[in-house]
Symmetry: C2
Subunit: 217 residues, 2 copies
DNA sequence: TCGTTTTCTGACCGTATGGTCAGGGTCGAG
DNA sequence: CTCGACCCTGACCATACGGTCAGAAAACGA
């Protein structure tokens, strides 16, 4: 019997191996796509024999599904910043900040998600039709309320959301292009902050949440 | 001898077959990724035997490269709208329109491009470092001029470009997600127009190129 | 300690895929 | 019409990949 609260060696190993496999898989799927990824490569990256992967995850599809599901959870979590915001500017600004942070911290996840959707969402179509749709409708209603209160201009909330998703995720999904255009160097802390501020400024001004042409004569 | 200006039967067949293969390849690469695409599937979609593909394009890599190169040309062409614009608003607005049109007309190309960049641009890295970089630097200079003339606010031109790319290409790359959130139906003509207007409105207002909160009390 | 359950893995298998090639067909020039 | 060059393709490889499995090893409970 194991002391309560403490993991048995078995459980600890299991947990660690699963985590290592999932992390390796996320990276490989992101860099090679589902078709280009191989179980052997994921195994090597996780430091485990290939057969061991199949012990934890029966098939490549199952492993991929787990990776995508994890990402979806994180994706929705960023929504917290939109909720319970005192006003439109802080709500939307905070959401942009959260999503930019996600792009920076989980670039592989973002790429896997993008790849999955680009290929017609064969694995997570049901999530799109249920959780994502519900989530989206809820935020649209919230944004519409801000519009009715006169806090922001009368833009289509749906396209505003798309714009935020597109712009923020671009820094992860097209990170390689951005890096190349940055002289081959990854964005520095300062540059990430500047990017976030730029995105926030343009969008918040664009929807009339902050005064136009701030700081400009 | 063939009449001048008119293609011999051979040349015509060659041209048509190459075009069919490239079109099929673009679609298959977009929907399955490079790794997931098979020469057999491309052949079937083009209505040709697999061996014939290898007659026109020696390897899968070569075919893929041709597909990506074609896309890159189209990508750069949309830049015309930014050049020779009388002012910032028409220049940037026109560029957004052109890119939205591209997302609508060449969704497969956009996806292949996105996939290529997401995987680290193994095929077109040199283009990114030369043609794209040059192109980008040129537009940044043009935008900076508009800023100096006081036509738009002092945003970072680089991030403005990223924002335009991200937002417009999102309608192609994430078209499936957008379609799902649109009740499973593709965007109608009217909805595409609304999307374009939304993007233009937010960005142009966001950079101070048009008055803030137009039409809002 | 012992027996049982769970975990692990090297070696193996069937299949699908990219690519090849010999041989036949078709076209165009002279 | 004839000949050479180009075009086409069914049949065929070699390989790499996802997945399996028998059996060893480790962990566990009693």
């Amino acid at each position: 019997m194991t002391a309560p609260g403490r993991l048995s060696k078995r459980d600890a190993t299991r947990r660690e191996n699963e985590a290592r496999i999932l992390a390796a898989a996320e990276k490989v799927f992101a860099e090679a796509g589902f078709g280009g990824a191989t179980m052997q490569l994921i195994a090597d990256m996780a430091g485990l024999p290939k057969a061991n992967l199949h012990y934890y995850f029966a098939t490549k599809e199952e492993l991929y599904r787990k990776v995508v599901e994890r990402i979806f959870v994180i994706w929705l979590q960023a929504a917290d910043r939109l909720d319970n915001a005192p006003d439109a500017a802080t709500g939307i600004g905070g959401y942009i900040e959260a999503k930019m942070e996600m792009s920076r911290r989980h670039p592989f996840g973002s790429k896997v998600w993008a790849s999955e959707v680009m290929h017609g969402a064969p694995v997570i179509q049901d999530y799109l039709e249920t959780a994502l749709r519900d989530w989206t409708e809820g935020r649209i209603a919230a944004i519409r309320r801000w519009i009715d209160e006169g806090q922001i201009a009368r833009i289509d909330p749906r396209h505003l959301l798309y714009m935020i998703w597109a712009t923020t995720q671009h820094y992860a999904d097209f990170g390689h292009q951005i890096e190349t255009l940055n002289g081959g160097r990854p964005l520095s802390d300062r540059q990430w902050a500047a990017a976030t501020e730029s995105v926030k400024a343009v969008i918040l001004r664009g929807i009339g949440a902050i005064p136009a042409r701030t700081g400009i004569p």
